[in-house]
Amino acid sequence: MNNNLLILDGISKSFPGVKALDRVSFEVKEGSIHALVGENGAGKSTLIKILAGIYQPDEGTITLAGEKVRFKTPYESLCKGISVVHQELKLSEPLSIAENIFLGNLIYKGIRVDWKSMRKKARELLDKFGMSIDVNEPVINLSVAQKQMIEICKAVNHNCRLLIMDEPSATLTEKEQKIMFETVRKLRANGITIIYISHRLEEIFDLADNVTVLRDGKCIGTVPVKDIDKRTLISMMVGRELVNEYPKEKFEVGETVLEVRNLCRKGVLKNISFKVRKGELVGIAGLVGSGRTELARAILGIDKIDSGEVLLYGKPIKFSNFRAAISSGFGLVPESRKTQGLVQILSVRNNICMASMEKVLSPSGLVSKRKEKEYSNEYVKKLDISTPSIETEVQYLSGGNQQKVVVAKWLLKGSDIIFLDEPTRGIDVGAKREIYLLINDLIRQGKVVIMISSELPEILGMSDRILVMHEGELKGELTREEATQEKILELCV
């Protein structure tokens, strides 16, 4: 049983200007869960695309079940039993579950589509994974987790032997993740080999048998998970010893800046009260959908408040819209950096100055490019944003640097109270630390920072106080000293 299903030998792939993969070789044992980790840009996605037949390698060989293969199209790869569950799911939303499972592989009776046996087979597949939804349900009505399951069913139906999962847990709630893990184990028990890509190292220790680390397009090594600890794994990924993952600094706690009293929004937020003081970092924990982002939105005037009040330095304030909140000194680093945080096709300069147009006007009232450049250069330097130039479009920056541009935008605006919603999502380990250091700097400068995060280690590592939310309610408040992963989980389920 312990033979290798997949052998990669000396795979290289170059794009104009970059060597994405440099003689990568490793083996994947049949019937194992094989994790693939590495920072952003390490070459994971290029490797997947090669296996999926989207790219062809420049050199090197792929051996699948003892047979040398070379995929020219995704279809060839699929025929050989390789399926990929992409991070962005590729389902046809208006079509039914059954139709999606059989997409590109419909069963025919003569020239007529045989709906009856397709529905029956789809039902069997869903039952196998413990899903009780109607197979005629359009996919658009399903949750992300359910859609992912449909992708998996689709792969199994294609007689897949090797299932590649690209960050499957990124968009799932904790509960859904557990179910997904169970499914993955079930697949392994059925003899399907899985390549599992994730940024969350905890999962890898929980789930995988072996792990391969990529860095800068090179394969750093493949090791059994049981022979390695998290520290070693991280140092393999970043190529150096990470001294302290969470560089928490303590500051003197001052006056209360923001106070929320009995905040309610029908169906979303129930009677929420808390205080935030100068010099402390308040973390808001909870599952996806527990009302954390909604709480921030309500405070910031994006959504309407039904009852309750928000006090700023003891004075009640009410924002009719988000702009009003901004002018009172609030800032928001939104959840989705790509679509909400930045205008991707505009330059670093334009993005930094976007919220502060009044600051870059010349005496004549027109926008002064010179002032924009001065400010942008100042913040690029201050925040150590690594970009070829301030005129570079932000879409070409790495995740960590993009996030710094979002923060720079609010610093230029002069915001004093900054909400960070999932500030390190999709950012690699090394860059995360830089964001944490930046958060420390903000607090040192006297800014008030409120951090919403789904990553418990991050909440535990950085917050002075932790608010735990569940179904729109504030279930508890823990100090840094008393908080543990278990206590938070207890409160939020």
Binding site: F322, R323, I326, S327, L332, P334, S336, T339, Q340, G341, L342, V343, Q344, I345, L346, N350, M354, A355, M357, E358, L361, G365, L366, V367, K409, K413
Partner: protein, 333 residues
């Protein structure tokens, strides 16, 4: 020795910079090369093409569409589009002529009313797109039909000819004598382009439009009033239609249902072949002006070479698709 190398390398840098600038210009202003090539071809084909009179004529013909193009370019920059522009020109043309000929209104007051109506149509579009959140396609298609309907009602489908002398200079006047002077309409057009280029690149409003077109959600989360700015953009486009119609009516000396016909598409084509991204957030208004000049030049030359007007429509479609294909290839690289 070392000094020499550094001089050498700095000279190389200089050369590189020149090349870079050239490649940048050809990338963003490929349309200018297109205009140049067309001019050469038509000049070789017809002795009447490259004459002062004909070139002046081309510019004069461009003015009405070029002013509408400003509005469309702004809307496209904010990642929307407007299908009502052409019929807005038609409606305002008819209202202007009707007020003067049948309403007995003072021509200047009639122009004022025309501007108000054009602006109102634009504002209608803007409010329904921004605040009622109906897709621009539906709203502007609707207002296109409404405008056309009113134009038909007003004119009863027959042209209204004969405009008073005092306002004829908008479409027919020349600064510096009719033989070698510059058309008033061209001066108006250029002033509008100067104003709107400043507006788009050096004001909060213009910069916000680029942000909205590049990513409306991100613009919102930077505190930009997305709805307000979009509504204003549609409104301004409406005003520009009315201004265009004043020039058009006085140039043709008549208002008819054919006025402004298909201007919205010609404006869109001008934007695209000029190099303004339909996805929003990219492109400069001046590029669309070159697009409009190219289009007028193209048809002027075709007419001069006696190409069948029906064939011209076919060619127009080909130019549009060709331009988009080039744009797609350019963006892929």
């Amino acid at each position: 020795m070392r000094a020499e190398t550094s001089i050498e390398s700095s000279r190389l840098n200089g050369v590189n910079r020149v090349f870079e600038t050239i490649s940048k210009i050809t990338k963003n202003y490929a349309i200018i090369i297109g205009i140049f090539i067309l001019t050469v071809i038509f000049s070789l084909a017809s002795p009447y093409f490259f004459t002062y009179n004909n070139i002046r004529n081309i510019f004069q013909q461009t003015t009405t569409i070029a002013i509408v193009v400003i509005g469309q370019a702004m809307i496209v920059t904010s990642a929307e589009f407007d299908l009502s522009l052409g019929q807005n020109v038609c409606l305002t043309s008819c209202i202007l002529a009707w007020l003067i000929k049948f309403g007995g209104v003072n021509p200047w007051i009639a122009i004022l009313v025309t501007l108000v109506v054009g602006t109102a149509v634009g504002a209608f579009n803007g409010v329904f797109v921004s605040y009622v959140k109906i897709p621009a396609f539906i709203v502007t298609l609707g207002s296109q039909m409404i405008s056309r309907g009113f134009a038909k009602i007003i004119t009863q489908a027959s042209p209204i000819p004969g405009m008073p002398k005092e306002i004829q200079f908008f479409g027919r006047g020349f600064i510096g004598g009719s033989q070698y002077g510059v058309p008033v309409s061209v001066v108006i057009m250029i002033s509008f382009y100067v104003i709107f280029m400043l507006l788009m690149h050096y004001t909060k409003f213009g910069r916000s439009l680029y942000a909205i077109g590049g990513g409306a959600e991100a613009a919102y989360f930077a505190g930009i009033d997305v709805k307000k700015y979009k509504a204003i953009t549609f409104t301004i486009a409406g005003t520009l239609c009315a201004i265009s119609s004043v020039i058009l009516v006085t140039r043709l000396d008549s208002a008819a249902l054919t006025n402004g016909n298909l201007y919205e598409f010609d404006a869109m084509i001008s934007c695209i072949i000029g190099g303004i991204s339909l996805a929003g957030g990219r492109g400069k208004i001046i590029q669309a002006l070159f697009g409009a000049i190219f289009l007028t030049l193209f048809f002027n030359g075709m007419t001069m070479l006696n190409v069948d007007p029906f064939v011209q429509d076919v060619l127009k479609g080909c130019v549009l698709i060709g331009a988009v294909v080039i744009d797609v290839i350019r963006n892929k690289r």
